[in-house]
């Protein structure tokens, strides 16, 4: 579905909303990936 944007403010609110959600996902993913990388090191 195409989001209609009329102003720059609309555009920035829209892209920032999505970007912040992605950043949240990254903040969760990267530590988990680090744990995955180091999992076997402890053995």
């Amino acid at each position: 579905m195409e989001t209609i944007m009329y102003t720059l403010h609309d555009f920035m609110t829209h892209t920032k909303n999505i970007t912040y959600l992605i950043m949240g996902g990254i903040l969760i993913f990267l530590p988990l990936f680090w744990l995955f990388l180091n999992e076997r090191e402890k053995d």
């Binding site: 829209h14 892209t15 990254i26």
Partner: protein, 389 residues
């Protein structure tokens, strides 16, 4: 005596040497053509496409793949990871040759190569990114040359001067890291001047960050790749320490590269999101972008991670090759393939055979010089008179 001479001649005329010889002869002819007939006679460059593969491949890829020098020396001397010590000299040699060939290739590409020193010594364009790149490459090439000289001094038996240069190691390493940070990112920033020419999927305000971060894992992958080749072809030149430490270097760099590549992937997605470029992903350009990002960043990152976890050297080596190819693809996409994407196909740039031949010639010179140096100087082994441990 005659039999020995024939054997020695047979060793010289191996298939590899003959191919290298042919490339060098063809390269010499192309060089004469380039410098007597001009750029127009040997290249497909025009006003729409003033930068071709001599910039896109020889310069951008050369600089990115030579990043192994600053990454390895920083790991060893700044972060104190001495287990990577045996990898420092080959990495510095590769970096030095990489940068030297970048400057060499630049002589072919610029219209008036004799004016190359002008921006530094005659007319400084201090507000230009290109000036910064030129200055950094000039300084960093000098730093790499000095960093490599201890190996040459050991070979020549010049103990006193070697001692002086060795004392400068930490200063040179820090200087090298600073210079690399500056110009690796500035090479990406150069393309920010052309928002209407570079496809939106590759154009981003974060281009300098992308270039700098990708140079880190490019350098690490190149060290692994170069070590794989050295093990195969120059194994007899390696000492015990080098053989013993090489697996640790490969796994250590695999782990670091894997994590950095995941971070790179993350900021690429952030860049995609902040510019709201999602709709381009459903186009042909989008597919090409995803091939680069998934096939040559995400996949090798996972392969590096699996290789490190399972201690599988084959995974690590395949991932390193894929990453090196991915960096080449990324730099070519930004400088050539996705650049001027809006032009009709008749106006698009495709390198001439002579341009490709010159690039192959320059890479071959690098391989020949590396082989010459590595078989003579203490690069893959420690000189017995200067053992550190």
């Amino acid at each position: 005596m005659a039999v020995e001479k024939t054997q020695s001649n047979t060793q010289k005329f191996t298939a590899t040497n003959v191919i290298i010889g042919i490339i060098l002869v063809v390269g010499a002819i192309l060089t004469i053509l380039r410098f007597t007939k001009g750029l127009g006679a040997v290249t497909n460059l025009d006003n729409n496409n003033p930068w071709g593969i001599w910039i896109g491949f020889d310069l951008l890829c050369g600089v990115a793949l030579a990043a192994g020098g600053y990454v390895t020396s920083a790991a060893c001397y700044v972060f104190g990871l001495k287990r990577y010590h045996s990898a420092v000299r080959p990495a510095i040699l590769t970096a030095f040759l990489g940068y030297a060939l970048v400057v060499f290739a630049l002589h072919y590409d610029v219209g008036r190569p004799w004016r190359l020193p002008y921006p530094i010594f005659v007319s400084q364009g201090t507000s230009s990114l290109l000036f910064e790149v030129g200055l950094c490459v000039f300084l960093y090439l000098t730093v790499l040359f000095i960093e490599f000289t201890p190996a040459a001094f050991e070979w020549l038996g010049l103990k006193k001067i070697r001692q002086i240069v060795v004392k400068l190691t930490l200063v040179l390493t820090i200087f090298g890291v600073v210079l690399s940070t500056l110009h690796q990112s500035s090479l990406g920033a150069l393309f920010m001047i052309a928002p209407s020419k570079l496809h939106p999927l590759w154009y981003s305000g974060y281009l300098p960050v992308y270039f700098f971060i990708s140079s880190m894992f490019a350098g690490m992958s190149m060290v692994i790749f170069e070590s794989t080749l050295a093990h195969r072809y120059l194994s007899h030149k390696m000492d015990h320490a080098h053989h013993e430490e090489s697996h640790g270097v490969a796994f250590g760099f695999a782990k670091a590269a894997s994590f950095i590549m995941m971070g790179y992937l993350a900021i690429k997605i952030v860049g995609l999101s902040i510019d709201n470029n999602w709709n381009y992903l459903a186009t042909g350009w989008g597919l090409w972008f995803l091939i680069e990002l998934v096939g040559f960043v995400a996949f090798p990152a996972i392969l590096f991670a699996m290789g490190f976890r399972e201690k599988n050297l084959m995974f690590v080596r395949i991932a390193a090759v894929l990453t090196v190819l991915g960096i080449v693809l990324n730099r070519l996409n930004i400088s050539i393939i996705a650049f001027n994407y809006h032009l009709p196909s008749a106006d698009r740039y495709f390198p001439s055979l002579m341009e490709i031949g010159t690039s192959v010639f320059i890479v071959t010179i690098g391989i020949v010089v590396y082989r010459f140096v590595a078989t003579r100087m203490p690069v893959l082994y420690e000189h017995p008179d200067y053992k550190t441990h």
